[in-house]
Amino acid sequence: MVFVLVVSTLVATFDKSDGEPGQVFFDLFENPSFSLAQSGQIDQEMILGLASRDYNAVRKEMGVSGEFCIYLEDSDGRIIPLREDIFGLGSNSIEINNRPCIWE
């Protein structure tokens, strides 16, 4: 109950998507095959575990046409490293604070 309240409250304070173009990705999070976002609760293993799969297969499963990178932010928009040396998981053509995303 507390978890639901906290999450519900914070959902109201966070943007669901950034700008109109992000609408495409809004649907992505409602895609049942994208289980990462469906559970409402993730851990480091779940995110980094994605990299054990083929990048293009994951991209296809997500329905993303371009390159992508998954990362975490806190409520103030600050980066939460996925690992000490990893800011984001995805294509190295996308950089987070000048640090390329990786898929490994």
Binding site: L28, F29, C69, I70, R78, I79, P81, S91
Partner: protein, 362 residues
């Protein structure tokens, strides 16, 4: 015949015809049964009644009916369940007024609704004298007689209410004893402020609390009880069948090798048995070790693996992680080619709600 005679003859014939069509009935001269107003009496019926029929105006008999000529008040109730009879006297009277009571010598009687005496006194000691007719209180106590009733419950195990106060044996406070003991942890340290509940069956009998020495005490009637010890930092303990003999201080200790030692519920990850939450109070118990007191307070009620703010600049992984400097960089995403689009949703990560973002360049 001339015309005048023929007319007269016709008139007479019509008159005769009218007379024949409407015969006289007022004097019922033509009736074979009875004369109007005539009455005939038959046999008796009911009590103080007889059969009667009357001749009506059409010279016909009415049916027989039972008519009365009773005495004043006939049939009304009188006396003890009686009624007024034909002779105007009260008949079928009972012997007493309903609901009245009396002592017939040493036996108590009450009058039934049928106005008859019925014995229903209390003579529990079977001495022939009912309680209502002067016997002593011993009549409340089966097996106790005037010559054996005592001022106090002298015997608490004989199954008798010796002093006839309606509280036999251990039900009588005069047979009360007490229960006392000590509650200790696995290190033989006293546990203060534990609640000791004493019950019998489903009924709570008494509640005691341990003092700074871990000791508890409670006054209870003699009997056999179940004990339950509760303390927020320890698993609950129970013990059934603890006997308290009459007028005796009995003890039961939750100590030492008694197998009733209170189990400390803190586990090595600083959670408690049956509880996934970390408790700062577990620090130093059963291998639970926080980085320091500040980390313990930060992790209190968190779950293992969650991160909590240690201070403004550092966070700690609960329960035992050391403080780490928080990354204080606002996310800045760049695409080597294409247009950046982002979408996010809120998820719980390491015990905190965070934004899971997917950035795409396309």
């Amino acid at each position: 015949m001339d015309k005048k005679k023929r007319v007269m003859l016709l008139i007479c014939a019509l008159s005769l015809l009218v007379l024949l069509s409407f015969p006289a009935s007022a004097d019922c001269a033509c009736s074979p049964e009875c004369s109007p107003g005539q009455t005939e009496w038959g046999g008796t019926c009911g009590e103080c009644m007889s059969m009667r029929r009357d001749c009506d105006g059409a010279c016909a008999w009415s049916g027989w009916s039972c008519v009365s000529n009773p005495p004043p008040g006939y049939g009304n109730s009188c006396g003890n369940c009686g009624t007024i009879g034909c002779s105007a006297g009260c008949v079928n009277e009972g012997v007493c007024a309903a609901a009245s009571t009396q002592c017939n010598a040493t036996r108590y009687q009450s009058c039934t609704s049928g106005c008859q005496w019925q014995g229903n006194g209390t003579d529990a000691d079977a001495d022939g004298t009912d309680l209502q007719c002067g016997d002593s209180l011993a009549d409340n106590a089966p097996g106790v007689y005037d010559n054996t009733v005592t001022e106090t419950e002298m015997n608490c195990t004989d199954g008798l209410d010796n002093d006839a106060d309606n509280f036999p044996d251990c039900q009588d406070s005069e047979c009360a004893g007490s229960l006392f003991g000590t509650v200790e942890d696995s290190s033989s340290g006293p546990i203060p402020d534990a609640t000791v509940s004493i019950s019998s069956g489903a009924s709570s009998v008494a509640t005691a609390y341990t003092n700074s020495s871990g000791r508890y005490a409670a006054g209870v009637n003699c009997g056999t009880y179940n004990l339950a010890v509760m303390h927020e930092d320890y698993a609950p303990l129970t013990q059934s069948g603890v006997a308290v003999p009459p007028s005796t201080a009995a003890s039961f200790n939750f100590t030492g090798n008694n197998s009733a030692i209170l189990a400390i519920t803190c586990e090595s990850d600083c959670t408690k048995a049956g509880d996934e939450q970390i408790h700062a109070s577990c620090d130093g118990i059963n291998g639970c070790a926080f980085y320091d007191g500040q980390a313990a307070q930060a992790c209190d009620l968190a779950k293992a693996g969650w991160f909590r703010d240690y201070d403004e600049a550092q966070e700690v992984e609960c329960p035992s992680g050391s403080p780490q400097t928080k990354v204080n960089i606002e996310a800045s995403i760049t695409c080597s080619e294409g247009t950046l689009v982002q979408s996010s949703t809120i998820v719980l990560y390491r015990g905190k709600p965070v934004k899971l973002v997917v950035a795409s360049c396309g």
